[in-house]
Symmetry: C3
């Protein structure tokens, strides 16, 4: 089974669970992740905890929810599709007329066959979601509406998995676990993160890798409120994973000011390992990169996506299901991020050790006979050396050479072995 | 009567006057402006005064000028069109042959129906201007040519109108009053400046506004020679108004190095409030921005135009008349500058007061239910906050958000009221 | 005879000589240059001398070389075309079968009619070069192969010609003398350099001009190893001349980081004196600019070409002969470089001496009568003055005015004579 298939299996496993920003669904999801990442730690933050401008809300759980007609036919059942009620609905159990019922129903009129995903976390209300088609066919009569939910003091749950490296500088990976049954948004992000964590956990790394699995917005804010100072000191690059499972495109949302190590590495890798990608504006942000890049937070965290949230038509509807994502799509995301990490691990400033070009021939790195057309094989060596001036790091040199920095890792190794370059102390900019 | 009509009325009133860089026409024009701006001050600078590399010339006035044929038919009369003689012509009264007359006549051969505008301020000569068509139809015979003008020691006149603001920093508006009967060049500039001054005079302003009405080149140089040090200390943005009355296009000439507050605000406003405009090169300058941007002067003054001088075919001919300008054209210029001033008044550095995004919901600035498509209404709040990092001023944020900074003024007010942003001390750069 | 013809005559004279990185052909070539430049100095660097990472190799000479068939027909003769053997071939004299012979023959299969240029400086071997067509028609039988060459301790030769200027700052011109009979690569570079040196030697120059004629790579490295510190202190701009004799295009390879005086002047001159040119990437380098721009060397040296090495099909084959270059092509290169030098000589920071625009009229630099269309003649004066702020040098002003800096030299002279500008002490950036 290749990695793409393994990731898809995780997506399938966590897809059915009813998640929200708090409650049993989040805990159940984290429990499954624990099977893959035994050292995953789960934290609980009590209702009422102040986190910057926000307050951790009451915990929401929902046992069952349905609508029945007068003949007790269930015309809507939360067990069948957990998008069927407004997420965070308060409990209700009463009979309503058709007119009253229609006031409680949310649809997506421009996509009449789909059930929309609707939330109301901070305003106490209840409601049902169904397709516009179903709504328009509802018959006159009375309906029994039941939402057997609870909103009680409890806690907000999140998971954290840290892989210690040789140094304290960190690569930060964030993904969100609050969306119910939607495959791309965001079972895909969770599953890709798990497999990346598994991979990194098995190898020796220079940098520390920190993965967090949090409810979107309130969870990221909660996490930041607890770790901001440490993160500002140690995080050198970060990636928020959102909608990374379809096979339609690649994209990322840059950091607010751009130009961080995270922006630079993902730009290089996407440029040379995809047939095209979209570099969005920071105006197009929408997931937890909003918090990581907020003024005063200013962490170097991009948002990586295949097709970006808000952009693909299946977004936030029942069409974002297990057929919309694919093992190829998931594998593609996994590979891009794996290569980004590999580049970051080697992303030093390099400086050549000779004045003028070195004589590659005496090191068997040069063609024995000079004729036009015979030099291409050693061009990467020569070009790498030409830019190894102590001001350029691996990504810079990749960009100068118009080639993937990942593919230059072998060049670096050969040149280091031959003592033709050395690592210069320090890093580009602040790191 | 709307503002456009009021401006057009001023244009009509001052159009017939024979203006030059000195003399009674300038004074008469300033007298009319005084009716609108009772606190307008008029200054007189004596002939012979040294102003930087220049000297204030003798004052020129012209009572009458004409050409008559042998039958006393007036074939040209200064009373009919004051473009008919070379501006600053010395007096003459003699009979000439047709051949001699032709040597004294200026035409615009590529526009054979129009009378050109010709000047000779610093070389004593006389001449007549007529259409190429008229010249080519002149009959053999003798002609009586008369220019009853005077060139005497006197003074150069200019007007100044200052509206004190809460602080000493100034917005500087310059326009020129030396051109005879041409509507766009520059009755339009004078009239728009008058109505802007009237508007600003009625309201409380943060900044001081200084309007000057000067003869082009020699007047601007004279003014600078008297006020340079003060202006370099206090002027934060300035606009020279030239040819602002037609309805064909919008344009501006940037400052020599670009990037000043004046460039930035007019670029933002023209981008988002017109259907297209021309940002000229500083090489295309031609009016008093030449002096304000000269090395060593270096004031942040752009030149704002509808169709730029030298560009529209009617330029410097008898076709630049009252039908070429319109109340819509004048109103458009008025509105662009009014919005520029409003933006400058609010153009502080803003900084958000919370870490991470604030919870807009508890301030009633967020939709109660979350579903795709419902967030647009609050996007400007979120985006403004995302860039309110203390490094961006209102114009920067408008540019980041790709929206008029003028339209963000209400956003600023709401966010300030909700204490979600505050003004950061200081300004961007030195301005 | 115009300069183009004179340069072509030099190309013709040195074309037949068998050159290599060492040996008699180099000395013979330098001897011819000495006829044009009597003060040319020739230096000899002994075999075995360590030069940075390299070692000066043994000296190579070749008396004769040929292949004969069993009937003593010479099917290949070094005297006919010195590309016929692998340059630096060790001696051989033996009979081989056709199969054995074919192993020793280099051809250019994609250009079957041409003899390729092949070298093996640092790996002891021997070989023959012929057209693919000739090789494929070789008949069965035995062949007598003879290379009467020698590889002995000796020396590497190079020439240097210095024209002292008023100051010690230097313009550095490098070209290479190691290629055998190829006209564009690089008899052209040698010949153009000679005529430029001759021209500069006849006139008074502000800057010192240093011309070097070196074997490529090893010669440039040798020269740098002896003069690096002095050059880093004094060279303000340099040009490597390679393939400057065809008439197909203009191009240059910029310095590694770009933006040096050399880049700036050649960019301006090529922009305004050619109908188009190619600004290559530093990735496209290939001649001694590789050494001059290596990290730690960092001299401001571009490579100037007509059609660049590697790009034209005749490159490194027998088709790069006396018909491929032309006097027009050579003259074009000569003129571009001559203009570059003239601009550098005048490339000061200029600052105007008046506040506001000066009154050009009283200096007879302004039209006597002002009418639209009459100002073009003085626009260069006004525009030069507008940018003469002490921050812009002649090249900057040319670029601002979108005109050749060379054509502005007369404007500079007039403005200096009229004391409207003066030279500001110091230079842009580090020089």
């Amino acid at each position: 089974m290749d990695v793409g298939e393994e990731i898809y299996e995780i997506v399938k496993k966590i897809f059915p669970i009813n998640r929200s920003i708090t409650g049993g669904g989040v805990r159940e999801t984290l429990q499954i992740l624990h099977e893959y990442l035994p050292e995953l730690k789960v934290y609980e933050v009590p209702t009422g905890t102040r986190v910057f401008d926000w307050t951790v809300p009451q915990e929401w759980n929902c046992e069952e929810a349905y609508i029945e007609d007068e003949e007790h036919n269930r015309i809507l059942d939360f067990q069948t599709n957990n998008l069927s009620i407004v997420n965070y609905s308060i409990p209700i159990d009463k009979w309503v007329t058709l007119a009253e019922l229609k006031e409680l129903i949310y649809t997506q009129p421009d996509q009449p066959e789909l059930i929309p995903y609707v939330t109301s976390y901070y305003n106490r209300r209840y409601g049902f979601c169904m397709s516009e088609n179903q709504k328009s066919e509802l018959k006159e009569g009375n309906y029994h509406i039941v939402i057997n939910s609870s909103l009680k003091d409890g806690s907000l749950s999140y998971g954290e998995y840290v892989i210690k490296g040789e140094c304290k500088e960190e690569i930060f990976i964030s993904t969100y676990i609050c969306h119910p049954s939607m495959a791309n948004d965001n079972c895909s992000g969770i599953a890709v993160a798990v497999k990346l964590a598994e991979l990194l956990g098995k190898q020796q790394n220079r940098y520390t890798y920190r993965f967090i699995f949090v409810p979107e917005t309130i969870g990221a804010i909660t996490y930041l409120s607890r770790h901001l100072e440490y993160m500002q000191k140690h995080v050198i690059a970060g990636f928020n994973l959102s909608c990374v499972g379809d096979n339609l495109s690649y994209s990322y949302v840059p950091t607010r000011k751009g130009g961080t190590l995270a922006d630079r590495v993902i730009d290089n890798i996407l440029t040379y390992h995809t047939s095209g990608y979209t570099r969005y504006s920071y105006l197009d942000r929408g997931s937890d990169e909003r918090q990581y890049n907020a003024p005063g937070i200013d962490l170097p965290v991009c948002c990586f996506c295949r097709s970006k949230f808000h952009v693909f038509p299946e977004y936030h509807t029942s069409a974002d299901n297990l057929t919309f994502v694919s093992k190829e799509g998931l594998q593609g995301s996994f590979d891009i991020l794996r290569m980004c990490f590999a580049v970051i691990e080697m992303n030093d400033l390099y400086v050549c050790t000779t004045l003028c070009e070195p004589q590659l021939g005496k090191r068997n790195l040069y063609p024995k006979v000079g004729q036009k057309g015979t030099y291409q094989s050693i061009k990467w060596y020569q070009d790498f050396l030409a830019y190894a001036d102590g001001d350029n790091d691996l990504i810079d040199i990749g960009n100068h050479l118009r080639v993937s920095a990942y593919l230059l890792i072998d060049v670096v190794r050969v040149l280091l072995e031959n003592k033709l370059i050395k690592v210069k102390d320090g890093k580009k900019g602040s790191f």
